[in-house]
């Protein structure tokens, strides 16, 4: 019991849990706000084209709840019966027949189920945000690493020499891993749910889970709350299994071999879960998988029976059995190999191999310069390469996740296509001609409408076909007038912009072109997508640079370094060069993600146009192109990132160990930012993420 308290209630553990929750909150709140902003931008841009997507979505949801789901249940029953009849005639495939029967039975349980509408966005956000699943692993894995490190010290031998220092202690530690997994899930997953309740409003947890269209294929009679509890339980199970198995592997193998084996085992399991399609013949490997259990959601939103020697077995039950067996195996292996057996000594053969590799590196990758060594310290010794790789993966996932919608209608697009570029007299005249032509067209349509009304008045009301023809004619003309009026409005707006820009050029002598401002407006304004990129950037900066000086402070190595000729300014310069290089790489990479989206999705163009073409930049007293502005904006972001990095480096300089520096940097830079991002307005002043975005418009 004391061991449980020592492991779970230590300030270090609580801080790790809290920090994992803070990282998760920062990332998840950005995701939720981005989802909402994207939806709004999408609705708005569709409205520009005369489509009301929002009401269409509402109509579809209503139809699903009222008729479509019941129809789907009937369809499944009929399909299964047909399949069953066909199967009994052919008698070729036992599995198909049994599967049809089982499907009928499974779906029959749902007959009479009542669906209710409610707030689904929060639940869907919690379901779809997969990064939390990987963040859940932080706390249990750090505990495992700490236990392994303890075992290698004299304290490990001391503990094993006591009466309860072997199997009983190991049992308590297994329980600690389980409880920590549970705490991790409750804190992070529960945190996500609470945030969505605040952000989108509380969903009705008591309605059937099938009320959410994404759970149409779920055959369990569950409420939304039941689904959430079930998913959480599965995640706890998966986390415990993963942690225990990694513990056993690392405890019994050389660290290099252990990590390689763990990477291969869990990497291939993850790939199988991600890459195998549900209908594949080898779908057992997809579903009988710890990562499927960690995902949890698929067992509630999909329906699948596995072919088990010709018999259909529900994938949920099979996975549960598989994970329980793995859990038991993990517990037994831990008790036997970690608690009972003698500790494994470092293998001489593996050590020799490691020495040979180190010799190879020294010979073929010789580093002799201070800059090279500082790079080695930062990228290899402090795992900077791994951090960069993770940031790259997160940046790539953002690239896939972010969608940019620019609200521009067809009329404006046409006008831009015709007149984008330098404003000339000819362009203005042609634009004015188009506007006046549109006005004349409206006038002509009005005359035609008046004539049509007159014709209707003169038509015999009893002549139904004639009346219908005239009415259709009137309706067509009205539609044309409405369309022309809308176009005239947008054309006039564009013409006015052209004229005001021409006036500006005349008054100031500085060039101003007619360009599409919408994409630039979206680019320079404060957006959740940008905040998401900056959250990843901040996390990268904290994880990458918090150890830069603290690494030298450990064991007072700095004193030794400072006693050398180049151990002061030389060392500082080399570290600064690396910090500047890596920050530049991160800034261009992560902001580049958004910029590329703008180029591709939003049609960011006219990069050679003068910056004064946008009202936002008309105050700039010198000539600069939009490309120049983008470069300057990137530079501004780089400087902001450098300022934050400098702060992190100062924290690192004042910390005794890299771990302490990391935690302090997170408390100073990430915690207030994450809270401010999740809606705590009082902390906006301390919001580093907002500063990193360098938005030019609110």
């Amino acid at each position: 019991m004391a061991e449980l308290g020592r492991l779970l209630l230590s300030p270090k553990r609580l801080i790790i849990l809290l920090m994992a929750a803070v990282i998760n909150l920062a990332l998840f709140s950005g995701y939720c706000r981005n989802q909402r902003e994207e939806s709004l931008a999408y609705y708005q841009s569709m409205r520009m084209y005369g489509m009301n997507v929002q009401s269409e979505e509402y109509r579809q949801r209503k139809a699903y709840l009222e008729t479509e789901y019941a129809a789907y249940l009937d369809y499944v029953q009929n399909q299964s019966k047909t399949q069953s009849i066909l199967g009994s005639l052919t008698e070729k495939n036992d599995f198909l027949n049994r599967n049809a029967e089982k499907t009928t039975r499974d779906y029959a349980r749902l007959t009479g189920i009542t669906l209710r509408d409610g707030e689904n966005r929060g639940i869907n956000a919690v379901r779809n945000y997969k990064i939390t699943d990987y963040l859940l692993l932080i706390a249990p894995l750090l505990l495992i690493l700490e236990l392994l490190a303890d075992a290698d010290t004299a304290a490990g031998d001391l503990v094993r020499a006591t009466k309860h220092g072997r199997v009983p202690l190991c049992a308590w530690r297994i329980l600690a891993v389980m409880l920590l997994s549970a705490a991790s899930v409750l804190l992070l997953y529960g945190g996500n749910l609470l945030y969505t309740c605040k952000f989108w409003g509380q969903p009705d947890f008591t309605r059937a889970v099938q009320s959410i269209p994404e759970f149409q294929y779920c055959v369990m009679r569950l409420t939304v709350g039941g689904y959430l509890l079930g998913a959480a339980a599965l995640k706890i199970l998966a986390l415990t299994v993963i942690s225990l198995l990694i513990w056993v592997i690392l405890a019994r193998m050389h660290p290099v071999l252990g990590w390689t084996v763990s990477g291969l085992v869990f990497g291939s399991a993850w790939l199988m879960h991600r890459l195998i399609v549900p209908t594949a013949g080898l779908n057992h490997l997809k579903y009988l998988n710890v990562f499927a259990a960690l995902d949890a959601d698929i067992f509630f939103s999909q329906y699948c029976n596995l072919n088990c020697f010709g018999r259909p077995v529900g994938f949920f039950g099979a996975m549960l059995l598989f994970c329980m067996i793995l859990l038991l195996l993990g517990i037994m292996l831990c008790l036997w190999l970690i608690g009972y057996a003698y500790p494994k000594k470092v293998g001489a053969r593996m050590e020799a191999l490691k020495d040979r590799f180190a010799r190879f590196l020294t010979r073929h990758l010789p580093v002799h310069t201070l800059l090279g060594f500082e790079g080695w310290k930062l990228m290899i010794a402090q795992k900077g390469m791994l951090i960069l790789l993770i940031a790259g993966v997160m940046g790539f996932s953002l690239w896939q996740d972010i969608r940019v919608y620019v609200p521009v209608n067809a009329a404006t697009e046409r006008f831009y296509a015709l007149f984008s570029g330098e404003i000339t007299r000819e362009h203005i005249e042609r634009a004015a001609y188009i506007v006046s032509g549109e006005a004349k067209s409206i006038a002509r349509s009005r005359t035609a409408l008046a004539r049509a009304y007159l014709e209707r008045a003169q038509t015999d009301e009893s002549d139904v076909s004639a009346m219908r023809r005239v009415n259709r004619h009137i309706s067509d003309i009205q539609g044309n007038i409405q369309k022309s009026q809308s176009e005239l409005y947008y054309y006039s707006k564009c013409l006015n912009t052209m004229l005001s820009l021409a006036q500006y050029t005349k008054e100031t002598g500085r060039d101003a072109w007619f360009i599409r401002p919408e994409a630039y407006t979206v680019l320079f304004q404060d957006s959740a997508a940008e905040h998401r990129c900056c959250t990843v950037l901040l996390l990268y900066l904290i994880f990458s640079f918090s150890g830069i000086c603290a690494y030298d402070n450990r064991y007072d190595t700095r004193m030794l370094l400072r006693s050398t000729k180049r151990g002061r300014l030389g060392l500082f310069t080399a570290q600064t060069v690396w910090v500047m290089l890596l920050t530049a790489l991160a800034v261009t990479g992560l902001h580049g993600v958004y910029l590329l989206h703008m180029m591709q999705d939003a049609g960011l163009e006219s990069l050679d146009a003068p910056a004064q073409s946008l009202k936002l930049f008309q105050w700039i007293p010198f000539s600069v192109t939009m490309r120049g502005i983008l470069v300057l904006h990137m530079l501004l972001r780089y400087l902001a990132a450098l300022a934050v990095t400098a702060g992190i480096c100062i924290v690192s300089r004042c910390s005794r160990t890299p771990q302490k520096a990391l935690l302090t940097a997170m408390v100073i830079f990430l915690l207030p930012s994450a809270l401010a991002e999740s809606g705590m307005e009082q902390l906006q002043m301390l919001n580093v993420i907002r500063r990193l975005t360098c938005c030019l418009q609110a």
């Binding site: 201070l370 190595t557 050398t564 000729k565």
Partner: protein, 294 residues
């Protein structure tokens, strides 16, 4: 003209506490053993000599020039082994020495050749490609010693360089230091008096931030003559006497037990020792009543 490192009225104050008070001495080529109790000011002195902290007063002159004015030129002349084993666990021994060579501004070829030489000198050639994290305390200490010798600096400041070494290694390192010290200034702080007994040209004794003795071992031993004596008797008698002289050292001889004391003047009944005086006795004489010196 041989190099000279002159310390003049050097002081260091932490608030009201005087860690060093107007310390003055001059170091010349050869080993100078630095002895003092814990907290006497040895590490402070070494930190000031390697310019790790600002001094409160005084001067440190290298051939007449203040080391603060010399800056990196001074640091290029110094090899330093700190007391704490400040080495990177993730580096191999060879890579760490390469790194130190780069920090010392040595040319690449020199770094390579000298690293191999130094690893050989400290008997670490076989472990050159092993991570320092896997090393014992003694091995770490040898890596640090090798790093301070890189670049063959004319001044070596060694803070307990033999701590954690086994007797054989200790003798080997001691001999290496003696060989190196022929044309170098070596300041060696240690709590094992035997480490400096046979190689030190001078001994510097510090007590509560003040230099209480700085002389050759011969002079110090001569000075101690008549102040070191022994009581002989049964074990019970010697135990009773030790209550009076708690710093006295009990030893067992073939004729019985003796209690060796350092007092000036020697107490009644105590037989002065003439023949086998050691530096250990000198330390007892000057540093008695202090905590563990070294």
């Amino acid at each position: 003209m041989p190099n000279k490192l002159e310390i003049r009225r050097l002081s260091k104050q932490y608030g009201d506490f005087h860690a060093l008070s107007e310390v003055s001495f001059t170091l010349e080529p050869g080993v100078t053993g630095l002895l003092g109790a814990n907290g006497a000011g040895k590490s402070t002195l070494m930190k000031l000599m390697t310019d790790h902290m600002p001094r409160s007063g005084g001067e440190i002159l290298w051939n007449g020039t203040d080391i603060l004015k010399m800056g990196r030129k001074w640091r290029a002349l110094v090899g330093y082994t700190p007391q704490l084993q400040g080495v990177y666990d993730d580096f191999t021994a060879k890579r760490f020495l390469y790194y130190m060579g780069a920090l010392k501004g040595m040319p690449r070829r020199e770094i390579r050749t000298q690293t191999d030489e130094m690893l050989e000198a400290v008997n670490l050639s076989d472990a050159a490609h092993k991570k320092i994290g896997t090393f014992s305390g003694g091995m770490r200490q040898r890596v640090l010693l090798a790093s301070s010798l890189l670049g063959k600096p004319p001044v070596l400041i060694l803070d307990e360089p033999t701590a954690g070494l086994d007797p054989e290694e200790r003798i080997r390192i001691r001999n290496d230091i003696a060989a190196l010290a022929r044309d170098r200034i070596v300041l060696l702080a240690t709590h094992v008096v035997s480490d400096i007994a046979c190689i030190a040209k001078h001994v510097l004794l510090i007590r509560r931030g003040k230099v209480i003795a700085f002389d050759t071992p011969q002079n110090l031993l001569a000075d101690a003559e008549g102040k070191i004596g022994e009581f002989s008797g049964t074990y019970e008698e010697i135990q009773r006497l030790q209550a009076q002289y708690p710093n006295g050292e009990i030893a067992q001889h073939k004729d019985g037990f003796v209690l060796r004391v350092a007092e000036n003047p020697l107490p009644e009944g105590c037989m002065p020792v003439h023949d086998n005086l050691t530096l250990e006795d000198v330390c007892h004489l000057y540093l008695k009543g202090e905590r563990q010196y070294g």
